[in-house]
Structure formats: structure tokens, C-alpha cells
């Protein structure tokens, strides 16, 4: 596949690198010569210096015959132009544009409504809010992703010393949950990922990803030593776009929300846009202020100021004061490692979320859903096993799947099954595959080989 990425920021450069490592023919267009020089040192991706909103530059990048165009600059307007030029003038079949402003989205949709091809508009702020809300539905989860149309949920948790999972063998899960799908999809221990097998043990401090029947969530929480609060108190630090949107969505569910920001004008704006939310002027890293506003009694504390280091500090403070769960908006992938170790339940990266959404769209077709776990080292794929697919020939143990790939679950009709090595996948099954990111391209090749 030939792909053009316009904009070399974190989202554009990550996307270009991912697509290139998946084996696609990728070119990254960026007008800042200095940035291109820097990226060239880090990435094994073809680069072109130039303004990607112009036809000559796009032509030089090879837009004629391009299969996928991704507009990921920091400017909504530039992204709209790139996407519209790609769709209208060059009939690019798949186009992705990052648009932060809902008004821009609307304009774009009405202009593009008659054009051919498929388009995905990504709003990183909305993606972040969606993510935070889905994490809040499973208290204590580091990560939550639905598969099989919601029939199976992949959720990651840090296992506490006192948890009833501490010391449990994976083979015991069938003893506890004989009639429903329940398995450990991946374990991160001491910073390293393990592809689990039955004799593995769950230990305190592990980050464990369960693939489970969503109906068992409360039982899993009980075994983890976590519980749902009947009445939910939420404190949000940062009257940013994300903070305000999150407060607004929580208001709709009747949740009591306190919104805190150190900037007076931001507070005034938020107060005008929100209804029942209590908007407080005060710094989220001011300990006394947090105490005053009752941070020690909140169930969820979400730090989403524009200063991501401040978010980490605010979460640590809130946690120390007694907030049950804390979430920090952090775009720096290196900081994702902080989870669990310092008491932050989950970090949300709008940029990485944008990357995931765009990749999911880019891989669409064979792959129905994909989620990257935590630090991007493990990916979960849902694929449809077609009649000619290599997945359906042999028992699982003899398929010759690449190393680091696990067939976690199957959906056959309306049943979800956890297969053993002796089971076979049938044509028409949906298959949930877990793979280390390193093996993802080998898995892609494996699946590709069966299609031809």
C-alpha cells in the first residue's frame, strides 16, 4: 500500500513509522526543514520537505496512485485542505484528517459528502474524553477495549498484594470461570511483556490484561480487591477543551463534578458552558486547595491541563490525599511507564489515541478492530477468518503462527470460545489475536499469504 502522511508532529511521525514497519510504502511530507532533519535521524521513513497543502508537493509525494492519505498537521485548516485535495482532485480511496474543531468537522463533512472514497475524521480531544469515560466504567482499569461488538472486553489491571489473583495460576481461571470466556491475554512484569501460558502465575505488581465476558466485570473487580462506588464523585483538573467536554458528558449522566483551574478566564469560560459542574479557581497542584475542595473523597481524579507534567504531579497529590482513582493526560510515551508504579491508574494520550484510530482505519478490511495496549508493545486484533484464510486450515498448535502471537478467543455465531491448541478455527469465525508489536508485521504477512 502506498501512503502519504502530511505533518511530521508526534502523530504524523508515529503513523509514518508504524505504517513503514508494517511494510507499506510511506512518504512523510513536512515543511519544517529542521524537523525533517531531526526525524531523518530517528526514523526509517522517506521524507519530503514541502508544503503538503499544495498540489505540486502532493504530486511529488506521489499522490497519483496513493491508497491512503493522512493529514496530521497541527492546523485544522491545513488538514482540511490536504484531505479535500486528496479526495476531490486525486480520488484517494482512504483519507484521514485530524480536526479538533467540531465546526470544521461539519464544514468538511458537507463539502466532502458527495466525494468518493472513505474518510476518517479524528478529534484527539473527543477521543481522549471517550477513553477516559470508558476507563471510568471499570474502576481501577489501566486500559479497557471492547471486541466482538462488545461481547468480549479486554481490560488491564495492576494486581495488588492483597488481591485474590495474587498467586493464582492461569490454569485456575477455568476452575473459577468454567462457563464464560475468561483468560489472561498479556502480562507485563518488571517492564517486560510475557505471552502467557497455563502454568504462569499472576503476581502482585503485575499489569494483567484479562479478556473477559463483560458480565464478569464485577466479579473480577472483587477478586482484584476493587469495588464500584454507588455514587460517583469526580474532580477534573484543567478547564481545557478536554476538561470541559468531559465535565459536560459527565453532567449528562448525573455525576457530581468539580472542575479546577488556576486560570481565572478559563474558569469563567467553563462556568458559562457548564450547568451543574462546580467550577473552582485554584491550582491543581496546590495541596491545600485540593484538600479544601475535597480531593480526598473523590472516586475519580482526572488531570487534563495542557501541561502534562503538571498532570502527573496533580494526580500524585490527589492520590496521596486519598482519591480512589487518578487519570493523567500525558502525551509523552515514556511517561506511560509511570502507571501503577507511582499510583496513577491510567494515562491518556490524545496523540497516541489518534495514532491508534488512524492505524485501525488504515488496516481496515481484514482487521475489524485493533487496540494497542498501554505502551504500544502489545496489540490486540480482531480479524474475520475467511474461507481461504491460513487461520482455518489446521489445529491452532499446527498453524505455524509467528512467535509472540496468541489466538485468545473465537466468536462463532453468537458464542465466544476460548480455544486450546487442538481446536480449529472455522471459516466465518471472528478471531481475537494478541501479538507483540514486534510480531505484528509478521502476523500481517501471515494473514496476507492466505488471502492471495
Amino acid at each position: 500500500m502506498k501512503a502519504i502522511v502530511v505533518g511530521g508532529g508526534l502523530v504524523g511521525s508515529s503513523l509514518a513509522a508504524k505504517l513503514a514497519s508494517d511494510g507499506h510504502d510511506v512518504i512523510l511530507v513536512e515543511r519544517d526543514r529542521e524537523l525533517v532533519r531531526e526525524l531523518n535521524e530517528r526514523l526509517d521513513v522517506q521524507m519530503l520537505v514541502g508544503n503538503g497543502t499544495t498540489v505540486p508537493v502532493l504530486k511529488r509525494a506521489g499522490i497519483e496512485g496513493c491508497d491512503l492519505l493522512l493529514a496530521t498537521t497541527d492546523s485544522d485548516e491545513a488538514n482540511m485542505v490536504v484531505a479535500l485535495v486528496g479526495s476531490a482532485l486525486f480520488n484517494v480511496p482512504r483519507v484521514v484528517a485530524r480536526l479538533r474543531d467540531e465546526g470544521h468537522k461539519e464544514s468538511f463533512r458537507s463539502i466532502a459528502s458527495e466525494m468518493g472514497g472513505e474518510r476518517l475524521l479524528i478529534n484527539p480531544d473527543t477521543a481522549a474524553v471517550d477513553r477516559i469515560l470508558s476507563l471510568m466504567t471499570v474502576p481501577g482499569a489501566v486500559d479497557v477495549a471492547p471486541f466482538f461488538d462488545g461481547g468480549l472486553q479486554v481490560a488491564g489491571f495492576i494486581v495488588k498484594e492483597t488481591s485474590d489473583f495474587n498467586g493464582l495460576l492461569l490454569s485456575h481461571l477455568r476452575l473459577l470461570f468454567p462457563a464464560v470466556p475468561m483468560l489472561v491475554a498479556a502480562i507485563r512484569r518488571d517492564g517486560r511483556w510475557r505471552v502467557p501460558h497455563g502454568e504462569d502465575e499472576i503476581l502482585a505488581g503485575d499489569l494483567v490484561y484479562f479478556a473477559m465476558d463483560p458480565g464478569e466485570t464485577d466479579n473480577v473487580l472483587a477478586l482484584l480487591g476493587l469495588q464500584r462506588e454507588a455514587e460517583h464523585k469526580v474532580m477534573i483538573a484543567g478547564a481545557t477543551r478536554i476538561g470541559i467536554e468531559l465535565a459536560r458528558r459527565l453532567e449528562e449522566t448525573g455525576t457530581s463534578v468539580t472542575l479546577l483551574d488556576g486560570r481565572r478566564n478559563a474558569c469563567e469560560k467553563a462556568a458559562a458552558e457548564l450547568a451543574s459542574t462546580l467550577v473552582i479557581h485554584g491550582s491543581p497542584t496546590d495541596r491545600d486547595r485540593l484538600v479544601e475542595e475535597g480531593a480526598e473523597r473523590v472516586d475519580d481524579f482526572i488531570a487534563c491541563t495542557d501541561d502534562h507534567e503538571e498532570n502527573v504531579v496533580a494526580c500524585l497529590l490527589a492520590r496521596r490525599l486519598g482519591a480512589a482513582h487518578t487519570f493523567a493526560l500525558v502525551d509523552n510515551p515514556a511517561l506511560a511507564g509511570l502507571i501503577g508504579e507511582v499510583g496513577i491508574d491510567a494515562v491518556i494520550s490524545p496523540r497516541l489515541l489518534s495514532v491508534s484510530l488512524a492505524l485501525q482505519f488504515a488496516r481496515k478490511g481484514r482487521v475489524k478492530a485493533v487496540a494497542a495496549l498501554l505502551d504500544d508493545a502489545v496489540e490486540v486484533f480482531e480479524v474475520e477468518a475467511g474461507a481461504g484464510s491460513r487461520l482455518v486450515e489446521e489445529p491452532l498448535a499446527q498453524l505455524g503462527l509467528p512467535r509472540g502471537v496468541l489466538v485468545a478467543a473465537l466468536r462463532r455465531g453468537d458464542k465466544i470460545l476460548v480455544p486450546t491448541g487442538a481446536d480449529r478455527i472455522r471459516a466465518g469465525d471472528s478471531v481475537l489475536l494478541i501479538t507483540t508489536t514486534k510480531s505484528a508485521s509478521r502476523l500481517d504477512d501471515f494473514l496476507e499469504a492466505g488471502q492471495s
Binding site: D164, F165, N166, G167, L168, L169, H172, R174, L175, L176, P178, A179, D218, N219, A222, L223
Partner: protein
């Protein structure tokens, strides 16, 4: 919930004999049912139905037959040791001599799972398993279970 608080020496039986799984679970049900004010048939049926979903054997001659039953008000654990090995699961399944039988109220699934998890984790230790197969006094069995579940050395 701690299983060590649920071990009742009156529900520990160390000298049983049975020819197969059905007979073993029937015996256990008859020994436990009076304490629950339930019929033994109901208890046997519940345990066999659960066994039909998949063997509850956990290796090393131990198994944790269990079920949730209407009418049970708090978790009841019976310990049953057989002189002979009983086959669990398929005909090639493993021989089991020691049963931790867990009967739970239907409306407290989390406590039920916590009990199963605690027993499975405690019984991972080969040392504890061999002691439980070895000693002859129910009080001593209760003591070993309590102390090992507490994480104390034996």
C-alpha cells in the same frame, strides 16, 4: 473473606472410600447436607452439574468441587479425604484423593470466587498437600489449612 475462618473440624472427613466420582460426591453431599438443611440429592446434583462443565481437579491429588445452591446462607466448606484415588474429568483424568468442597449462596458470586481462589492458591504448595494427605486428625488438618492460608510457616 478468609477461608481459614470457614474451616469447621466437624466437616472434615479423612477416612472415606468411593469407587467413582458420582459415589464420592454423593458421600460428600450426604455428610454436608444436614448442616445446610438441604437434601443430599440437591447437593450431589449441583456438584455433578458443575463437574460436567469441566473437572475441578487442580493437580497433586486435590480437587475443589463446588457449586452455588439456593437455600445456602453462608459459604460452607467440607474437607473429604479418600483412601483411594478417584478419577476426575475424562477416564484418563487425574486421580484425586483430597476434596475441598465449597457450597455457596447463589447471591454472593464474588465471595464464592474468592473462596475458590484462596483454596487453589494455598494448595499450590506441594509441602502443604503432602501434609494434608498424611495427617490423621481432623483438628490437625484444620490447623494446617488455617496456618497455610494465613501464610504462616508450618
Amino acid at each position: 473473606m478468609k477461608i481459614q475462618t470457614l474451616i469447621n473440624p466437624a466437616l472434615i472427613h479423612l477416612d472415606l472410600e468411593a469407587s467413582d466420582l458420582v459415589e464420592a460426591l454423593t458421600i460428600v453431599a450426604e455428610l454436608t447436607a444436614p448442616a445446610l438443611n438441604l437434601s443430599a440429592e440437591v447437593v450431589t446434583r449441583g456438584l455433578l452439574d458443575r463437574e460436567a462443565l469441566g473437572s475441578t481437579a487442580i493437580g497433586g491429588s486435590f480437587a475443589i468441587p463446588h457449586c452455588k445452591l439456593p437455600g445456602v446462607t453462608g459459604i460452607v466448606i467440607t474437607l473429604a479425604r479418600f483412601r483411594n484415588a478417584i478419577v476426575f474429568g475424562s477416564p484418563e483424568g487425574e486421580g484425586v484423593r483430597f476434596l475441598f468442597v465449597v457450597l455457596s449462596p447463589p447471591d454472593q458470586p464474588a465471595l464464592h470466587l474468592q473462596a475458590l481462589s484462596q483454596i487453589a492458591r494455598t494448595m499450590k504448595s506441594e509441602d502443604i498437600r503432602s501434609r494434608l494427605l498424611d495427617v490423621d486428625d481432623p483438628a490437625e488438618v484444620a490447623d494446617i489449612v488455617r496456618r497455610s492460608a494465613n501464610g504462616e510457616s508450618l
